[in-house]
Symmetry: C2
Subunit: 145 residues, 2 copies
Amino acid sequence: MNEFRLDDFLPYLLNNAAESTSRAFSEHYRREYGMTRAQWRIMAHLGTFGALTASEICTRGFLEKSKVSRAVAGLEDAALLRRQPSAHDRRAELLTLTDKGQQVHADLAAYARSFSDTLTDRLGSDRAAQLAEILRDLIDPQPGD
Amino acid sequence: MNEFRLDDFLPYLLNNAAESTSRAFSEHYRREYGMTRAQWRIMAHLGTFGALTASEICTRGFLEKSKVSRAVAGLEDAALLRRQPSAHDRRAELLTLTDKGQQVHADLAAYARSFSDTLTDRLGSDRAAQLAEILRDLIDPQPGD
DNA sequence: AAGAGATGGTTGCATATGCGACAGTTGCCG
DNA sequence: CGGCAACTGTCGCATATGCAACCATCTCTT
């Protein structure tokens, strides 16, 4: 009969796990810096990978471009990032963190780090590493790119 | 220095994996039935577990209660589910799928099933099972419950 | 039995979101 | 070269969302 079991449906489990593990953390940057999830994600990308364009962030982070556009505007207003024209493409803008942005990123990264350690402890480091690896496999082949 | 690596941050990977694996599927029920993500999730719960109250769905699915409230209203308007008063608690309402709701659920479940098979193939069934198991461990201890 | 506090569900309001349309730019093919 | 498709980022609009306030009901303590 090919029954459907919600408890085994990977997208469902992934959504729950993502939601469950992101909530506590998101409350932190929300309280401390008034940042949204999209804003934190953009900061995290720039803090980790350096200068990126908005559309690169869209692709890497599975975010809508209008969402990124507005989140970037907010971060710019808060003086956390700066735009500069791309040398090779006049449509695109390179985004980089300001000094203030770097500081904020450093704080959030430290928090994220300790948060991550908690999760790893809970799973055991072997399984945590397994999980990360499998997730990367699952993510890589992005449908439309 | 305790560096922060976004590529190893589990909440990030989980969000990307969830988003990546949910997108194609969500396009389907959106197109076919005009349903939102929350609505599909509610249908999936009711289809799998039978009668539930809204708050049980909130807890299981990591959904805000106002989101559920409105999604349920929409599903009721579409005649996909029905409310009946709980025998033991006059505040609560038991939600169940209507016949039409069951049909829609059956269709979506079949689609989900084949979708799930694709993912499992891609990972290999061992790793897919590992993943599901680890995710369940990660989810279980829900912060505020 | 009474009141405090928790819980179920709805709703108002401000904000966030997705989609589609748009203007400007680029790259490619004939 | 000329033009057309693809791409970048922004914006308007309708809708979805989160939060807090709210009413009704339940539970627990005393």
